[in-house]
């Protein structure tokens, strides 16, 4: 999905004819293939369960085993990420499979339980956890797709772990500017305004959720506070203030990075621990079915 519009393609002479398949990115190609695979597998499974039902055989044993194997495969993505030292297939292939088969697992889950919400306490807990894992997965996927582009288009690039250092240095620099301004011009307008309002901004990343949702809150806030103080500054002070504004615009971009990268890491705090719980509870379910099912 290319969100950046490009100028119209010219009828360029020497370009060899490129099929639509080759124009797709590797990721898209992988996904299409997996969707086809999953669709045919589900179709086959539907036919099979239909045949089972017609023969008065239980379908939930079949769908249950497949579903269990599927969630183990989905969980195996975590192990694959730790094992890049041996050739196990491209991680992007695994992720495309994970996403496609994750969605397929929802359908398979409904096929297995025959309803959307089961009867029975522990089964309801299991279903709730499954839904949470699935929904958090979908949200995470969307976060990844949208967030990556947002960050690239912000204009700076910063490593998440280095943000505290960057902010510290910006803060230090901004305080230097303000002090220099006071020293050179003899007026503490800017210094006071800094202490009253701007220092809050520099202390840590701000406007977290506004940045996530693409609001322009920090620019808006800055414009307001700039407008508030500028009327009281003379030429020299304004020069210093301009330096400060440069820093502020950089810091705003870092804030955006912080918010997006933070969420892109923290959503996994929901997805992963819950999927472990899901695996434990699903194993318990399997055990119960093996022992008790009539």
């Amino acid at each position: 999905m290319n969100l950046m519009p490009s100028p119209p393609e010219r009828e360029s002479e020497h370009l060899p004819a490129v099929s639509w398949w080759d124009k797709l990115s590797q990721r898209s190609r992988d996904m299409i293939l997996f969707v086809l695979l999953a669709a045919s597998a589900i179709f086959g499974l539907l036919l099979l369960t239909d045949a089972y039902e017609k023969n008065l055989e239980r379908t939930d044993t079949l769908t249950g085993y497949i579903l269990f194997g599927l969630i183990i495969f989905l969980g195996a993505l975590n192990s694959r990420k730790k094992m890049s030292m041996i050739p196990l297939g491209r991680a992007s292939l695994w992720l495309s499979a994970h996403v496609v088969f994750g969605i397929a697992a929802i359908g398979l889950f409904w096929l297995h339980i025959g309803t959307i919400w089961p009867v029975g306490l522990y089964e309801q807990v299991l279903t709730a956890i499954f839904y949470l894992v699935a929904i958090s997965g979908v949200i995470g996927f969307l976060l990844y797709r949208i967030g990556a582009r947002q960050l690239t288009q912000s204009g700076v690039e910063v490593i998440y772990e280095r943000i505290p250092r960057e902010l510290y240095e910006i803060r230090e620099q901004s305080e230097k500017i303000v002090l220099k301004c006071t020293e050179e011009t003899g007026s503490d307008t800017l210094a006071k305004h800094y202490e009253d309002t701007l220092s809050w901004f520099f202390r840590k990343p701000r406007f977290y959720w506004q940045n996530i949702f693409g609001l322009q809150s920090s620019a808006h806030w800055m414009r307001f506070h700039a407008a508030s103080v500028v009327r009281y500054l003379d030429e020299k002070e304004t020069a210093h203030f301009d330096e400060l504004m440069t820093l502020i615009s950089v810091k705003r971009k870092i804030d955006h990075h912080y918010a997006a990268q933070d969420l892109m890491k923290k959503w996994l705090l929901i997805h992963l621990p819950l999927s472990i719980a899901l695996l434990v509870l699903a194993s318990w379910h399997w055990f119960l079915v093996e022992v008790y099912a009539i």
Binding site: E53, K54, N55, L56, E57, R58, P118, V119, G120, L121, Y122, E123, V125, V156, V158, I159, E161, R162, P164, R165, E166, L167, Y168, E169, I170, Q173, R203, K204, P205, V250, I254, K265, K266, L268, L269, L272, P273, L274, I276, A277, V280, L281, W284, F287, L288, E290, V291, Y292, A293, I294
Partner: protein, 613 residues
């Protein structure tokens, strides 16, 4: 800093280590993170920047990347000191801990709540049960709990694990309480075997309750609700719905077999009831005069003979007497061996038989002689006569017993003096002079015979004799008794004689159907007349569906002994008649609407709480 040109230089930018589990505590609080970062053990690594080295008395800075400007303190400590921070875990570290915690919590919850449920007030097992069982079953399993159906429950760990590997026989748990007329693991609990080609699967040859019934669907779970597809699993002819593909009803539906009473509705409605001679006795209504609509169920039972038929048919019945004993023709005097008051001279006279008749078939059969062979039977018959003279009716008892009859019912009411009087006359070679006892019925005597006149419909003696005759089959001479044209055979005019379906081919015994067909005995047919009564067409009523077949002759069917040869005075009911309402989105048309699966389900246990095992 981010704006610096040389921010990528290796001395300004060390490797990032995503697997390192700690981060600087100052960074966490948005302060100034130290360059070194936390130590490997999680303690603050930025307290000092180096460990100074003492080179011949001089302390030198040993910072990675080059000495600091200030150099160490005279004491040998690093001059760049700061307070220790409290390093925190990185997000990956937190994630690892959360994963372990969630796993541990889940295991704990399972351990705490995943056991129990043993009944008798044990409320445990909330993480064990896949849902409440249906309300009905709950009442009966409250005491034993899960063990009522699940054998491995609450047993030792070894047997629980073993249960995971053994295939449980589901029907065992269900059949503790539920019973059927046939095997619980046969299709329809019936004795017929499902053809191996049924649905192509050997799995269906032996059925399990769980193939169709699912529990743990909640208190309101419908255990008995089935889909049509489930029936189609075995039935070869598969179709979409009743209106779309259901096979046509059988040719004689609903008369799969002939009735036990040969009542021809057609002749009665068309001839007998409209005959002016019968006007007084003919019923006012058509069907409901005889069929008790208030008891409408699978069948609509008929009223009693007395209510329906006696007004016309009683007379004929009372007339149909049975001849039991007839004095046969003798060549010699049967009484000759006994004492007589006759003179010698008279005795020497040529014997003239008082009777020229043969024996009755009954007596011939009892004596095991030919009925019309005087030479053959004279001795046995003579003996019989002499016994009759001596002991009266007692004479017949051993004969009857030997022939397999029941003398008490067959000779019921025969006065002892009757035979005495008869034989006295016959001993004198004279005919007996009877008193006319036509009016009262029962055993009577004529000049040469002993007979029995039935008292009315349902006469026990006649019934016993007919049963006795039927037992001997159609070939035996006793079969004459069953001839509908005369005598006791009048009963056979209405009551069918059949051969049982389960009888061996060479077993000649027949049986007489004394009662009307009890339709409630059809275990797989779920039809009930009662709800349909409101939908009968005005004017036609029963004949909405049961249309009388004008000119139907059902007698042919009753002349033979196979009850499955159907005959009915009604036109067969066609599927289309039912489909008028049951179909096309009108009234329900699923299989179970009209067909039942189980063969007479019963509950084995007594009502009331089940004692814990």
């Amino acid at each position: 800093m981010i704006l610096d040109q040389d921010k990528f230089k290796q001395e300004n930018s060390a490797y990032e280590r995503p697997n390192f589990p700690f981060r600087c505590g100052r960074a966490l609080k948005w302060g100034k993170p130290c360059a070194h970062g936390p130590n490997n053990d999680g303690s603050c690594g930025g307290v000092t920047e180096c460990r100074p080295f003492n080179d011949n008395g001089r302390w030198l800075c040993r910072k990675t990347g080059g000495s600091c400007g200030d150099g160490p303190l005279p004491t040998g400590e690093c001059s760049q000191r700061q307070l220790a921070c409290q390093p925190a875990r990185t997000i990956r570290g937190i994630r690892m801990r959360m994963a372990f915690t969630f796993m541990a919590v889940m295991v704990a919850i399972i351990a705490a709540f995943g056991f129990g449920g043993g009944g008798g007030g044990d409320e445990g097992g909330v993480f064990l049960s896949p849902g409440p069982i249906s309300g009905i079953h709950q009442n009966f399993t409250a005491d034993a709990g899960c063990e009522s159906c699940h054998k491995p429950h609450n047993k030792s760990a070894g047997s629980v694990i073993a249960a995971a590997f053994t295939k449980s026989g589901p029907s065992e748990s269900c059949t503790d309480c539920h019973g059927f007329a046939g095997s619980p693991t046969a299709a329809h609990n019936a004795s017929f075997t499902v053809g191996s080609s049924a649905a192509g699967s050997p799995h269906l040859l032996k059925t399990q309750c769980s193939m169709c019934h699912t529990e743990h669907m909640g208190v309101d779970g419908k255990i008995t609700k089935m889909t049509d597809e489930q029936c189609h699993a075995c039935h070869k002819v598969k179709f979409d719905s009743f209106t779309n593909g259901h096979p046509a009803f059988s040719a004689n539906f609903p008369s799969r077999q002939r009735a036990k009473i040969a009542f021809n509705h057609t002749s009665h409605f068309e001839k007998h009831f409209v005959d002016p001679r019968n006007k007084a006795n003919a019923p006012d209504e058509r069907c409901v005069s005889c069929h008790k609509v208030s008891k409408a169920a699978q069948g609509v039972p008929v009223k009693s003979y007395k209510q329906m038929c006696s007004s016309c048919h009683d007379d004929a019945i009372k007339e149909s007497s049975m001849v039991f004993f007839r004095l046969p023709e003798f060549t010699n005097d049967p009484f000759a061996g006994g004492k007589t008051t006759l003179s010698m001279a008279e005795a020497k006279k040529e014997f003239e038989s008082a009777s020229t008749e043969p024996l009755t078939p009954i007596i011939a059969h009892l004596l095991k002689v030919e009925a019309d062979d005087p030479e053959g039977y004279s001795e046995a018959a003579g003996q019989l006569l002499r016994d009759m003279k001596e002991t009266g009716a007692e004479a017949f008892v051993p004969l009857l017993e030997e022939a397999g009859g029941n003398p008490v019912s067959m000779l019921h009411g025969m006065p002892a003096e009757l035979t005495k009087a008869l034989t006295s006359a016959w001993a004198a070679n004279k005919e007996y002079e009877p008193i006319d006892s036509e009016a009262t019925g029962g055993w009577f005597a004529t000049e040469l015979t002993i007979g029995y006149k039935p008292s009315g419909h349902g006469d026990q003696v006649v019934k016993a004799w007919l049963d006795f005759a039927a037992k001997h089959g159609a070939e035996s001479p006793l079969a004459e008794l069953m001839d509908p044209s005369e005598g006791p055979g009048t009963c056979i005019k209405c009551h069918a004689v059949s051969k049982g379906a389960k009888q061996a081919k060479d077993d000649k015994a027949l049986q007489i159907e004394w009662g009307a067909v009890d339709r409630s005995k059809s275990p797989f047919f779920a039809y009930n007349h009662e709800p349909h009564l409101n939908f009968l067409k005005v004017g036609a009523y029963c004949e909405t569906c049961h249309k009388v077949d004008p000119g139907a002759d059902i007698s042919k069917a009753f002349k033979q002994f196979d009850p499955m040869i159907a005959s009915s005075s009604f036109k067969p009911i066609k599927k289309e008649t039912c489909a008028e309402c049951h179909g096309r989105g009108a009234v329900a048309q699923n299989c179970l609407e009209c067909h039942k699966y189980h063969n007479e389900p019963v509950i084995n246990k007594s009502m009331g709480p089940v004692a814990s095992k």
